[in-house]
Amino acid sequence: MWNRRKEEEPAPKPTSVPPTVSEPAKEGIPMSTQPTRPLETRTEPVRGGVAILGKSVILKGQIYGREDVTIDGEVEGTVELQEHRLTVGPTGKVVATIKAREIVVLGTVQGNIETREKIEIRKDAKVVGDIRTARIVIEDGAYFKGGIDIVRAEAPKPAAVPAAAPKPQPVGSTGPQSPAAAASAGDAKR
């Protein structure tokens, strides 16, 4: 028994090791539930920060989030995750206007969708609504009914097009402003 106790005693020590940056000890399970996390590090811990609405959850109203969200249940209303990814799981049913950085649909979505980067409509997914996005991926077997507007993203362009169009660069330093410019840039790409 004595021996066992001694073995158990050192065990707490490792738990005090993980908080490397003099943070209070934490259990290491949910990262995003700590509201007091410093804002600067918010972009990095995104990987672990996924909120999941389970299969049996039915939500009516507005979802606004600063972390990735997976919906396996039913949502009706609006979903806004400007800088993050929304995943609608195979059992997910969403009747909502959606805004997100990136959306992956494996279930059903009805409503208009706006993504800054891309939307993936996977096999067996069903999407009804207008889509405004920079990129779209539609797998065989997916059903889509609606309009598609491709809006070229401003950020990746400087890296991809500098040789082709060096002059237009100075137009906007941080510009999510110019829909017309984006459209004309799309033409120029051809």
């Binding site: 539609i138 889509f144 598609i148 491709i150 459209a183 051809r190």
Partner: protein, 179 residues
Amino acid sequence: MAILDFAGASQATVSFITNYGHRLYSDDFVRQLDRVFGSAPAGANDAEFFENQANPALVSDFFELALNFDDASFDGALVWDSLQFLSSPLLQTVVAKLHKMLRPGASLMALFHTDERIENIATYAYRIHDKRTIQMVSRSHRKPAQIFNNRNLEKLFQDFQSVKFFLTRDRLREVIVRR
């Protein structure tokens, strides 16, 4: 430009159209027909399918589901082979609606089988890969409402400015009409 595609969404067509900077509206017209008028793809309920097309309530549902667009919404329409599965009264109404949905000068492309002996014709999902390549993905066989000859087609599209016919492979007649 705004393009209407009735073949159902595919990555190839979406990329092809949107790479030109056009807006694409996509729907699977034949699927909507089946959904409203209740056809079995194998053709078992063909009679019922065509009978239902005369049902005003179902026709109204169909228009709400598949053709609920404002006038002059599109600069082009890819109708593919879907018009062949509409029986006569509904066919005229749909073509009249398409006429309204297109802007003056817009074009519409449709395909019709030419072989009058065939009972059931193959239906396809059409995917545009590039200017010269359209992939036809087989879906099912089904009975057409009627087989069209040039005269039928001229009459069908009489409200349009011009009608052009092209004979293609696989006993298909391609029709391009201009609003």
